[in-house]
């Protein structure tokens, strides 16, 4: 079943933190593989419109990014909203 294999490869997993978990209803979500973090955000905003109204930092392979970076199916992506509580 080579087609299924290819299909499986085309998803990337994203780890969520804070209120993003509540908005998505899950700790982890998958989206189709995109080429960079800019496209990732567009994809997320389509799939999870509530994300567009939330502030969060993006980490790729456990590093916070400050500009658009390329992604592949193996990239470890995490989305972290700021917390103010004390």
């Amino acid at each position: 079943m080579p087609d299924c294999l290819i299909l499986q490869m085309r998803y990337m997993e994203i780890i969520l933190f804070g209120q993003l978990r509540d908005l998505a209803g899950s700790n982890r979500i998958s989206v189709g593989v995109v080429t960079d973090t800019n496209d990732l955000q567009k994809e997320l905003n389509l799939k999870y419109p509530d994300f567009a109204n939330t502030k969060y930092a993006i980490a790729v392979d456990k590093k916070i990014i400050s500009k658009t970076v390329p992604l592949n199916a193996e990239s470890e992506i995490a989305l972290l909203p700021p917390f103010s509580g004390g």
Partner: protein, 375 residues
């Protein structure tokens, strides 16, 4: 207390070979300012005081409430209604009479922050709002003070150490390298809306105390350039590397003067349009008798005006000179209308609903220009 007693108090940590008498001496010499004696502040203060940090400052203008007690473990029901900073200091004094505790029963603002911080070596932020968090970050960047950061929401916490270098080639990282700009209203839930499990600030506050002790004594690997997140429900931890980004530094006030002029409340929340009035409303108000108009600029700032009577109370003296204000309507003004909004916010905290408070939008410069146009 004699040397033997001191040794006995700290004996269990002194016998750690990485720590030793040298580590203990470093703690005794250290001065740490803790912002907020709340959920994070309480455990942090308890461990820092117990460990023997020589000087601890506690800033909090809040009073103990019943709903605090599930997480703010320094307080008991007898403390309800009393000052958090003072009650915390008095408890910690009983815990460790050998150290110096300073309670600042006031709100930390951009007008007093630099002065407060400059007497300390380390700042630990356990505040509960974005305005204070961004302000503390910017103040610590300006004064190059190490900042131990911790924040919580619901079941999750974050810890990091800012403004420190791992090695001499490192650029120090600050909070704005993680979250460059504050979220606007509705973008993030605040603690009162989101809720918090009481033990979470206990864990995160204790982690902050741990980072602080590691930084002071130079042991282990503090979370420099690293954000650690912890989840109480799953016990997951996640560490992320942070990198300094020069463009984020442009968001920080460039010097102490611009820091004092920055309106952090406004930056982090809805614009306080409620205070602002335009020239036409101002012109009708100045005809009234029961009104105090206050120039909140520095004493020597120009232009002056003879068109109406006013008091001169510079912004940073407003709080202590508020007894000069007698009337029920107050209008503040400054050069361009920014400081006067801050002044209105300060006055509304002092007078609550007792007085009507306004700020002249656009400041005296715009008012004078409009007046000229009408002439």
């Amino acid at each position: 207390m004699n040397k033997q007693n001191l040794y006995e108090r700290y004996q269990r940590q002194i016998i750690l070979k990485e720590f030793g008498e040298e580590g203990q001496q470093k703690l005794l010499n250290a001065k740490v300012l803790v912002i907020g004696a709340g959920g994070l502040g309480c455990p942090m203060l308890q461990y820092l005081a117990a460990a023997g940090v020589g000087t601890i400052g506690i800033v909090d203008d809040d009073k103990v409430a019943l709903s605090n007690l599930h997480r703010q473990i320094l307080f008991s029901v007898n403390d309800i209604g009393k000052s958090k900073s003072e009650q915390a200091a008095s408890y910690l004094k009983r815990l460790n009479p050998e150290i110096k505790l300073i309670a600042f029963n006031k709100r930390i603002t951009n007008l007093n922050a630099l002065e407060l911080i400059s007497d300390f070596d380390y700042v630990a932020d356990g505040s509960d709002n974005f305005a204070t968090r961004y302000m503390m970050n910017d103040a610590c960047v300006l004064l190059k003070k190490p900042l131990i950061y911790g924040a919580i929401s619901r079941f999750e916490g974050q810890v990091a150490v800012f403004n420190c270098k791992k090695n001499q080639y490192d650029e120090p990282v600050n909070y704005r390298d993680l979250f460059p700009e504050p979220p606007k209203e509705n973008e993030i839930l605040n603690c009162a809306e989101a809720g918090v499990l009481g033990v979470l600030p206990g864990i995160i506050g204790t982690m902050m105390a741990n980072e602080c002790i590691k930084l002071i004594t130079g042991i282990g690997e503090p979370l420099i350039n690293t954000l650690l997140t912890y989840n109480t429900l799953t016990n997951e931890t996640y560490q992320i590397e942070l990198t300094a980004d020069k463009k984020n530094n442009t968001l920080i006030p460039k010097d102490e003067t611009s820091f004092r002029e920055m309106n952090y409340e406004w930056l982090c929340g809805p614009v306080s349009k409620e205070f602002e009035i335009d020239s036409s409303v101002f012109n009708s108000l100045i005809q009234q008798e029961n009104i105090d108009i206050i120039d909140v600029r520095e004493i020597d700032e120009k232009p002056d005006t003879n068109d109406f009577n006013y008091l001169k109370i510079p912004l940073d003296e407003l709080e202590k000179n508020n007894s000069k204000i007698k009337n029920d309507i107050i209008v503040t003004f400054c050069q361009t209308g920014k400081r006067s909004v801050q002044a209105a916010e300060i006055l509304s905290r002092i007078f609550k609903d007792q007085k009507k408070i306004y700020s002249l939008k656009g400041g005296i410069i715009e008012w004078k220009n409009q007046k000229k146009d009408h002439e």
